[in-house]
């Protein structure tokens, strides 16, 4: 595997989870060897397209005559149920996945019903949402699931009419034979198709893109009506019989243990049914020590939690201090780091004959802050646990919970609920493990409900970091020298903190002849994790802003500077179409510039900024238009986005992701999580002020629908936002933003 391929993998959240899921998927029988499953007992007959599953999967709570681990079920009345295997976290996958199946099936979308699949990776393969990988990893699987069903319906029609299959066409859930003017609906064919052998899926011809009827259209979300009428879709809405509400108080400095607590007092409070110390297993990703309170209502539980008096043993607890880390990083800025990430060419020599830019960049820790605070419902009984979880990685949670509780994985059942925001927070399943543990210890079903403050204090934060850059542009205007001393954090003294690593091949080092990248690591105890577009979400701010410093120092137009930097059309990792392609990069840069009106004269106090970044196999360039008043109050008027993620599955969903990424990217420029004495200093949305509607810029989205395989769009539009806005601030004011949040540079939003 090349370094770039590794870096492509490295920028994916939950790399280990992905690899584990891929291994499981790889262990599945290939599609062509899966046998078609006929369910004679299915109500009313009909065609159930399932892949042959073992008794283990069937035993997973499946009622007789119905197997939930199928992608397609067609009822005799023509109703088509398509099962969506992944978690819906706001990325629109519950609409996009079934669209892919329906396209190859030629299903009448108006009559398709979508249901959430059971969590069973043995049957479905990957059932996670992360790394913008849902679409690329399921694309072929879902197309072939739809195409297999269609092929069998065609075969059934051909047999019925005694005509060759090649003469049969399908459209909108109807099979037709034009020569004899006959047609039958899929419902009519379902029973007959169910008796036929399963075709070799690999031999099936999938549609040409030009023949797509559904994919690429604007399709509204399949749960929109339920959302706008307030139906119980989310984790927090789950209710099971006999359930108690649980709250859980952990040490505000991670690693602290309970020495004592006023449990007797707490147990006497109204509505409280139990209170106890949870020893936990000391793993922040599973169960840390704390005090659990059970109550008959959420309010009783929250009220009791406020009365808790816990004495913590903080001898092994975090003493982290962000302000000290900032001071330590500044001291390192002028030197090289002790570890070399990349050294090519002769940086010093190249710099000697170049126009030189220098800058020290700082970005803070940030929180995911999904609007639905962490919660999970769990019922532990007789050595088995049933869980209702708003998780991004329910497939991984199966094994994690089994490990935490020391029970076989077969004894864990997880139901995926709709998720009130992911952003990477729910790649971790700590709250799932806690709910299972507390249910077991209490002996009753519980809904564990975190408060907003719990959510902000016990996140896996986007790690802060520092970059000390030097760059050199030669007399031809080319970037010839690039130096970055990357100062990150480490929790174990060896590896960089989770999602705080940078590849030596990080952009633009593969495009520059003389490169020196070194690394230092500061100690850290605070847990960190994957935050939307991990790595890139922070790196792009520093790198793409400093690239603009380089072009400014050489008095070059940034558009042409970026185009020149890309050079000849090529893949930066040969034969890897998930790597950066310079031709695709140039195309989105030019399109963003054209649509964003790059080069037009702006009034005083206003400016345009351009930035590119490649992440998660997506090429994105963005132009921000800003104005700044005399008091450094910033307004972002418009962000124009050009992206290439291949063909678009659902145009409405894809545009929504881009619009959301721009708002998220801008919002986060005003936010920070600071840490002192191991404690998170922010508590709620008053001290972590997410962007509100009045400050939201207009977002204009343009896709280049290239012929490459489709890739995900939940993340790659985010990284260019901050540098585009910072480059625009420079154009408007001459002030270079090198530290986030913006308040550190005297700007307000």
């Amino acid at each position: 595997m090349s370094a770039v391929e590794q870096s492509v993998l490295a920028d994916s959240p939950s790399r280990e989870l992905m690899q584990a899921a891929e291994q499981r998927a790889g262990a599945l029988p290939s599609l062509d060897r899966r046998s078609f499953l006929k369910i004679s007992g299915m109500a009313g007959g009909g065609l159930l397209l399932a892949f042959h599953v073992g008794s283990e999967a069937l035993a997973n709570g499946a009622p007789k005559g119905f197997v939930p681990n199928a992608f397609v079920r067609i009822a005799p009345d023509g109703t088509i149920v398509i099962y969506s295997k992944g978690p819906e976290i706001g990325q629109g996958i519950k609409t996009a996945f079934p669209m892919i199946v329906a396209e190859e099936l030629d299903a009448d979308w108006a009559r398709v019903k979508v249901e959430q699949a059971a969590v069973n990776p043995t049957v479905f393969g990957r059932q996670s949402a992360g790394g913008s990988r849902s679409i690329p990893m399921a694309w072929d699987q879902l197309r072939r699931a739809g195409a297999t069903a269609r092929a069998m319906l065609v075969a059934a029609a051909a047999k019925e009419w005694g005509v060759p299959e090649s003469e049969i066409t399908t459209s909108s859930s109807v099979a037709s034979h034009a020569a004899s003017n006959r047609s039958l609906g899929y419902g009519d064919l379902a029973g007959k198709a169910a008796d036929l052998p399963v075709p070799d899926a690999k031999a099936l011809k999938l549609k040409d893109r030009k023949d797509f009827k559904l994919l690429g259209k604007r399709i509204t979300g399949v749960e929109n009506v339920e959302v706008v009428t307030g139906k119980p879709l989310f984790g927090i809405d789950q209710v099971v019989p006999g359930m108690q509400i649980a709250v859980f108080e952990k040490c505000p400095a991670v690693g602290g243990k309970v020495q004592s607590a006023n449990l007797d007092e707490i147990k006497k409070l109204p509505g409280v049914t139990n209170a106890f110390i949870v020893e936990g297993n000391g793993k922040p990703t599973e169960v840390m020590p704390g005090v659990a309170i059970l109550a008959s209502s959420t309010w009783a539980a929250f009220s009791a939690k406020r009365q808790l008096k816990i004495t913590w043993d903080e001898s092994s607890a975090s003493k982290d201090s962000w302000s000290k880390s900032v001071e330590d990083a500044k001291k390192l800025a002028s030197s090289q780091g002790p570890e070399s990430l990349k050294a090519v060419g002769d940086f010093d020599k190249a710099l000697a004959n170049a126009s030189v830019a220098e800058g020290f960049y700082t970005y803070p820790f940030v929180s995911h802050a999904p609007l639905e605070p962490q919660n999970c419902t769990a019922s532990f009984k007789d050595g088995a646990v049933e869980i209702w979880a708003p998780s991004q990685t329910a497939d991984a949670a199966l094994r994690l919970v089994a490990g935490t509780l020391g029970i076989p994985v077969e004894k864990v059942t997880i139901h995926q609920t709709r998720v009130g925001g992911g952003f990477g927070r729910r790649l971790m399943n700590d709250y799932v493990c806690e709910a299972a543990w507390i249910s077991r210890q209490a002996g009753v079903p519980v809904k564990l409900q975190w408060t907003r403050e719990d959510d902000m204090h016990h996140d896996f934060y986007r790690v802060g970091g520092f970059h000390s850059f030097k760059g050199g542009v030669d007399s031809d205007g080319k970037l010839v020298a690039w130096q970055d001393h990357f100062i990150t954090f480490t929790q174990d003294g060896e590896k960089p903190a989770l999602a705080g690593q940078m590849s030596g091949d990080e952009f633009p080092s593969l495009l520059v002849p003389n490169v020196r990248i070194t690394q230092s690591k500061l100690p850290l105890a605070t847990p960190t994790g994957w935050w939307r577009a991990p790595g890139s979400c922070a790196l792009a701010f520093a790198i793409q802003s400093f690239l603009h410093e380089c072009s400014v120092s050489a008095k070059r137009d940034h558009l042409q500077f970026l185009i020149d930097l890309m050079g000849e059309p090529r893949w930066l990792a040969p034969k890897n179409e998930f790597a950066l392609n310079t031709e695709r990069a140039v195309a989105v840069i030019k399109l963003a510039a054209q649509k964003g009106g790059w080069g037009r004269k702006m009034p005083k106090g206003s400016g345009l900024g351009l930035a590119f970044h490649f992440s998660h196999a997506g090429h994105f360039a963005e132009v921000a238009e800003v104005s700044v008043d005399a008091n450094r109050k910033l307004t972002v008027h418009r962000v124009t986005v050009a992206g290439d993620v291949g063909p678009i599955v659902n145009m409405s969903g894809a545009e929504n992701q881009v619009e959301g990424s721009v708002i998220d990217g801008f919002s986060t420029m005003g936010l920070e999580i600071s840490i002192e004495n191991g404690r998170i200093q922010q508590n709620n949305f008053d001290s972590y002020p997410l962007l509100r509607i009045a400050k939201a810029p207009k977002v204009e989205t343009h896709f280049i629908q290239s012929d490459y395989s489709p890739t995900g769009v939940g993340e790659p539009a985010l990284p260019p936002v901050a540098p585009a806005i910072c480059n625009a601030i420079f154009a408007a004011t001459g002030h270079r933003v090198r530290t986030l949040p913006l308040s550190k540079e005297g700007f307000s939003v």
């Binding site: 989310f234 925001g421 907003r452 619009e659």
Partner: protein, 153 residues
Amino acid sequence: MRLNVNGKDLDLGNIDETTPLLWVLRDQLNLVGTKYGCGVAQCGACTVHLNGAPTRSCVLPVSAVAGQKVTTIEGLAAGGKLTAVQAAWVEHDVAQCGYCQAGQIMSATALLNRNPKPTDADIDAAMSGNICRCGTYQRIRKAIHAAAGNTHE
């Protein structure tokens, strides 16, 4: 104590009257469309109508609303027909995760009830109490304008 929710008079029995309306709706009445987001009236996910006015139910003790008219997201679509605001939300595909949208719709509905033709500035003022973490603000704005058109048809 008694409460009128979505047109129905309800007897809450012997309840801790300091309980915020939000938790009475969610835990006791099983009206879970109203959401918990922050508990301190910062995010607006818990927005309901109190006598028609948008109100943050997470900080409102139920004792303060005894005998008054509460409308939740579940009470908007009378007879199963979506309101103009709800229909615009569906048509413009506003939601991403959808968690905040009940609160957004309650604020938008109250806005249009008192100002049938809001400007962008009116929308900003009326909707600034509602956070959307997914960033669907552009679509919220479009949907409100669309619903405003609908109400005048």
